[in-house]
Symmetry: C2
Subunit: 626 residues, 2 copies
């Protein structure tokens, strides 16, 4: 093992100077914006200085270079010091720092990837480490590159369970290219953090979760240099540096005091404080520059990824869409090594195991920790390193809704796949039924929502998702349903299919997944009574093919019936209402689940909740009695 060489005095002084420069920038910027979190910046000043100018290897002119070390500021409210560090590194103009939080500046209140040096948006606490784990896993196992990943966390956010999901993940997968730093500055927003300055308890928790851990004085640049150096040497475990710090360190009358969270320094104090800090700086020039990275990460590759073979099913064949998901993902895996899959111990239900069996090295078992799974997937997909698909029961993605929301702000291209939607799962009961997932994903602004109704459509949805920017969600179903499309059917995002029509249709019925099949069965029943209905498969719920829906609604007397295995709010029905809301002369009748459902057989439940073929047929009969 290499032995540690203490940096020379000039370097150490340079690091101290840099820390105070970062403090000064943070204070000035938050004064200029009259909002922000300077005290949360100041506790991290030495950590940031040692990270950016002594530890990390990166090209300061090319922050998104695939070979660079990664940095995630999980305590995103300390954004001003991140911006200051990149100003000291030369990438951001110093003058721009004073535009913090302004309408026309990308230096927002919390970091987002509008800035080239930000991979994931932060600001919802406790999420950074999961993303960092995803990057570290990718670096170690997929890119097989020497870049390292650093994640700076606050102590307050360590109350978030997602942090401990990530802690368990990182040690399980031996991510020794990952370093977490806990900035234990003792004080939260409205109270001291629960463990205050009990760094020994943090140490015990980190060790119990399998991490190599060092406790340091977080304001001592030499201790920090040594800890980061030691972390680089340590093999087989991730390293956590528990840094005891003081909130507002260096700010007289403010340091270690409550009630300074998220407050700029008042005008009557700021000059004195800036003078104090300035006086400690020995050399005002930039004396430090980062080490460059090894050039050993694969170059970016954004070529399209296609199914290695077209869907091969016979019309009428019974095949659950969740099962087709696995088939499609394995085909994508054949076509590109960039495709990776993640699951939360449901792979034999979601059928991500079909991919795993072919590509075990590109499958990440995330165990029962959905928040972390989504965070890992987002981390894996950063800088287009991988095309990541993460799956679990759709309703358990509700566990990760905050991560998904932040994923949109992060401009992530992650693909999420939820199986076991709706009451049609049957006996397991309501806790396992996704009935809010469409509402959830439709309200994600960058999200494309696929709801394929047969195996062919599912394979094409998976292929499209792999090549679509933004978050993609694919909703799959548990029951076996008939294949209705031929293998060469073309699918496009935002293009619906009219799957049944006649010249005398009374109404346009829109269903998806199991309810499309119920609608088709209802059409058969009604046809024998001389009543024809038109049936539409929307394929994507967002964007929804408003033109096709409008044209067909007009052709059927302005009458639409929607039928969905989802609650009535926020799903297919409301998507259709949105599409036709500006039209007079169109009315929409909606069949959906309207109360907490119960256990039972799938068909019993479809019937009870009014979304079966029989109930669709009854609705049509009532509306068109003669």
């Amino acid at each position: 093992m290499a032995s540690y060489h203490k940096p020379d005095e000039k370097t150490l002084q340079g690091l101290k100077d840099a820390a105070n420069k970062l403090r000064i920038h943070s204070i000035k910027a938050t004064c200029a914006s009259n909002s922000g979190h300077p005290t949360s910046c100041c506790s991290a000043a030495e950590i940031m200085s040692v990270l950016f100018f002594q530890t990390m290897r990166y090209k300061a002119t090319d922050p998104r270079n695939p070979c660079n070390d990664r940095f995630v500021l999980s305590k995103g409210h300390a954004a001003p010091i991140l911006y200051a560090a990149w100003a000291e590194a030369g990438f951001v103009k110093e003058s721009e720092l004073l535009n913090l939080r302004k309408f026309d500046s990308d230096l927002e209140g919390h970091p987002t990837p509008k800035l080239a040096f930000v991979d994931v948006a932060t600001g919802s606490l406790g999420q950074g480490l999961s993303a960092a784990c995803g990057m570290a896993y990718t670096g170690k196992y997929f890119d097989k590159s020497s870049y390292r990943v650093y994640c700076l966390m606050g102590d307050g956010e360590c109350s978030e369970g997602s942090v401990w999901e990530a802690m368990a993940f990182a040690s399980f997968y031996k991510l020794d290219n990952l370093v977490a730093i806990m900035d234990v500055n003792r004080l939260g927003q409205s109270d001291p953090a629960p463990l205050q300055h009990n760094v020994d308890v943090y140490l015990k928790r980190c060790e119990a979760f399998g991490w190599n851990t060092y406790v340091v004085d977080g304001h001592n640049v030499e201790e920090l240099c040594k800890a980061f150096w030691s972390a680089k040497q340590f093999k087989g475990q991730p390293t956590c540096i528990v840094a005891k710090t003081f909130k507002g360190k260096g700010l007289k009358g403010i340091e270690d005091e409550m009630n300074w969270h998220g407050k700029p320094i008042p005008k009557d104090k700021v000059d004195g404080i800036l003078n104090d800090l300035q006086a400690q700086i020995k050399d005002p020039h930039k004396t430090l520059s980062p080490e460059l990275p090894n050039e050993d990460a694969p170059p970016p590759d954004s070529s399209p990824i296609l199914l290695s073979s077209p869907p091969e099913y016979k019309k009428g064949q019974k095949m659950a869409t969740r099962r087709a998901y696995g088939v499609a993902l394995a085909k994508l895996g054949n076509s590109s090594t960039k495709v990776v899959a993640l699951d939360g111990d449901t792979k034999n239900s979601t059928f991500s195991e079909t991919f795993m069996k072919s590509f075990p090295d590109r499958y990440i078992e995330c165990f029962i920790a959905e928040q972390n799974m989504v965070g890992i997937a987002i981390g894996c997909a950063c800088r287009d390193r991988t095309v990541a698909f993460a799956s679990t029961f759709a309703t358990f993605l509700s566990r990760a809704y905050d991560q998904i929301r932040m994923g949109a702000i992060s401009q992530s291209n992650v693909n999420l796949v939820g199986s076991h939607c709706g009451v049609s799962i049957g006996e397991d009961g309501p806790s396992q039924m996704a009935l809010e997932d469409l509402a959830m994903f439709r309200a994600i602004p960058t999200c494309t929502v696929f709801y394929p109704s047969d195996a062919v459509a599912t394979e094409r949805a998976v292929e499209l998702a792999a090549n679509t920017k933004g978050i993609c969600f694919i909703r799959t179903s548990r029951p076996d349903t008939a294949v209705i499309y031929s293998g060469d059917e073309k699918f496009e995002i935002g293009v619906a299919k009219v799957v049944r029509q006649s010249k005398s249709d009374l109404v346009t019925v829109i269903g998806a997944g199991v309810t499309l099949h119920e609608a088709l069965a209802a059409a058969d029943m009604l046809e024998s009574e001389g009543k024809n209905i038109r049936v539409i498969d929307p394929f994507t719920i967002k964007p929804l093919d408003a033109a096709t829906i409008l044209a067909n609604a007009r052709a059927t007397g302005g009458q639409i019936i929607t039928v969905e295995d989802h609650y009535k709010e926020g799903g297919l029905g409301e998507a259709v209402l949105s599409a036709v809301g500006q039209e007079r002369d169109i009315v929409v009748t909606r069949l959906a689940v309207t109360s907490v459902p119960r256990s039972g057989k799938p068909q019993e439940l479809l019937d009870l909740y009014g979304i079966s073929a029989k109930q669709i047929a009854n609705t049509v009969r009532q509306k068109f009695a003669n």
Copy 2:
């Protein structure tokens, strides 16, 4: 300290017999339903036997008695053994067990409070301990009663971060009336759990999180008796019993084998297995009965809770609705000791601190752990022990969406309050802006969604929420806005207010919160141009007052404009579309946020995203050019 007396041999044999009876019931029930998780039941058989017949004190004929010890089956898929335990205790008919998962039985696939012996629904893993913590906190600090709380967890679910949020909470608050049991049966659904049988690692983690911890052989009734007894004596810390068990224990050829998760015992094996188990039972009779509880919990009290004084504001006074929330909650606190508040270190932003300052003993600081906070609140509200209000930034409630979803299945009456909604928070940027919360809460079937637009309406919303069954969500806003209602204005759920009208209104504009005020400002602008608009405040978004909206829309040429500080999907606009979707001749134009927003000043952002007074006025001008 009392010394431990080992139970006599007859009792120990009775406990062993009971364990095997529970196994037999679990196997028979899952065979009858042809689905379910018998192997997950069998690992817990001795734990359940010792809990129900040697440890817990309860009235078996009155499962919801306030004095009873509480039991939470966090590993909800082991439901059959819970039902079996209550059959052995005499509350459930043995014959009913065979109706497991059937359409007409309340013995559902996972437990729900349709059953009197279930307080919270489980089945989404990792949530039970938070609810149990809420019950234990309530027992210790509010009820000041001697009932104890037991929570049985699986090892797989210990990967969920919410478990560790709850672990930290329980030790911080010294919940020595709480016992968690980890059923470490090694095997998950599709893989071994990450820690397999490394019970020492579980021990270290529990100790690091501040728990008194025992490792036991989970199939040894004597060890279990002693551990539960020791837990009762232990003061100042919660106790965790790490029980090393085997999945499918006692089932030949199945015990400790993979691929038996969620599978009933096959027909060719079941008779042999049942015979094996039966042969181990020494006494087929029920020889054990639980100890009765101390009668020291306060009786239930469901009297209405009213504001201690009416809202006292002057019309035109500026007051943020978030601030009025704190005032109202303190007034409710004056009226009833049942009212309690929780927050996640945002109390000085949500203004729950106004309550805390008056009633520090009824405020629970949950720190930055929103999943656990919601779980705690649900636990506190069980059996109507308290009326709980939990608050944080509305967007961080997305962190707890799975808990909220399960709360609905749990028939919880918890009240959730989310501040800082929408782009109108300004500089902090998108990570802090709730723009999906209405979509999220509307898709909760038991949920009432309040969106008060001034301080008076807010106080009444809080009062109504305290007395309304089901989950209530109150959306509050950051900016100061004018009081528009007098203090004696009456508010009802599902009743909108027409806040501005004339005889010549061109259009009905519906806004809420800040956008109601923007709509009123737009009305002023337009009036000077000779264009009148009608303005409606919906007060509740769910239920929405369809009748008032329809009547006014008809009176304004069928023209509606909705304007909301929320994404376009699932919020106010779609709620209005839902209300009018069956009507011809009504068109709805929707103004909403349609992309990930940015930092800036509130008014700049309202303008940029098209929901300011100016943009509303422009929309009206465009639609009604002449």
